[in-house]
């Protein structure tokens, strides 16, 4: 199955991102709970891109591991201001943007693999995988 690239530039793109991710997850055979998890992760992390970096993109990519297990990888990239304190950002309830502070730590709980790279003024890249 093809991978998908979605531009994240305005608020409505968050809705488009979670809709596309859900469609892809369904096509890959994910059940309703997993579809909800993936759509929610897409929504949380796409919002971070739009809100903190202004623009960036989401790449949704079907993957297969060595054992033949299928999954979906979502990569969120931006070249925004980056995150100063990654450890703090991963804590529940920490927010610099007036949110609930559930976006990053909550998203991590909804996927099997979660990687985040960020440096001040160099942007942020979050890569997550949920296996079928």
């Amino acid at each position: 199955m093809e991978s998908l690239s979605i531009a994240l530039e305005q608020e409505y793109d968050i809705v488009a991102a979670r809709g596309e991710v859900r469609r892809l997850a369904r096509a890959l055979g994910f059940g309703s709970v997993d579809q909800s998890r993936l759509a929610t992760v897409a929504s949380e992390l796409a919002r971070n891109v739009v809100k903190y970096a202004g623009r960036g993109r989401l790449i949704a990519q079907p993957v297969t591991d060595a054992g033949g297990r299928k999954g979906l990888r979502l990569v969120f990239e931006d070249s925004g201001p980056g995150i100063k304190d990654l450890a703090a950002a991963m804590r529940d309830g920490f927010s610099t943007g007036g949110g609930l502070g559930k976006g990053l730590p909550g998203s991590k709980r909804l996927v099997h693999e979660f990687q985040i790279e960020s440096a001040p003024d160099r942007g942020t890249r979050v890569s997550v995988v949920r296996w079928l």
């Binding site: 979670r18 579809q35 909800s36 929610t40 929504s43 949380e44 919002r47 559930k102 730590p105 709980r109």
Partner: protein, 145 residues
């Protein structure tokens, strides 16, 4: 057109029924919250039924709206009930770390109406006026056995 305008707020007796049937962008969420509070003030409704049974996803932004509406409505002396959250959405919200404490929930609109029917303790003029006419919160006549 403002997206928020597409979500209807129905007034049934002294209850606001809000069926949310579209995937809302953040502006729509904010707009809806403001409109519900404005309607509460205008109609002096005592209850809000937020029907989310068609929502396939509730993220932290929408979750926060649900909590905020409940808290703000409470200050305005109205009771908010979230109706019909899907199992997949509920599981996701719990894993996300949102438990919506302080928000009342019911399985379906029937249960929501049942819950708010019981809520009619009087205490202000409008309530007393309706009670005098033998009506409940939904404007239905109350038959007492």
């Amino acid at each position: 057109m403002d997206g928020a305008q597409r979500i209807p707020i129905l007034k049934v007796g002294r209850v606001l029924l809000v069926p949310i049937q579209v995937d809302m962008d953040d502006q729509t969420v904010i707009g809806l919250q403001e409109r519900i509070l404005a309607e509460l003030e205008r109609t002096r409704a005592r209850g809000v039924l937020l029907d989310i049974s068609l929502l396939e996803m509730v993220d932290s932004f929408i979750g926060r709206m649900l909590s905020d509406i409940a808290a703000m409505a409470r200050i305005m002396d109205a009771r908010t009930v979230v109706v019909g959250m899907q199992p997949a959405v509920a599981i996701t919200l719990v894993e996300l770390g949102l438990e919506l404490r302080g928000v009342e929930t019911v399985l379906n609109v029937d249960e929501g109406i049942k819950l708010l029917r019981a809520e009619f303790d009087g205490g202000n003029e409008e309530d007393e006026a309706m009670r005098a006419e033998g009506l409940n919160l939904f404007g239905e006549s109350v038959h007492r056995a």
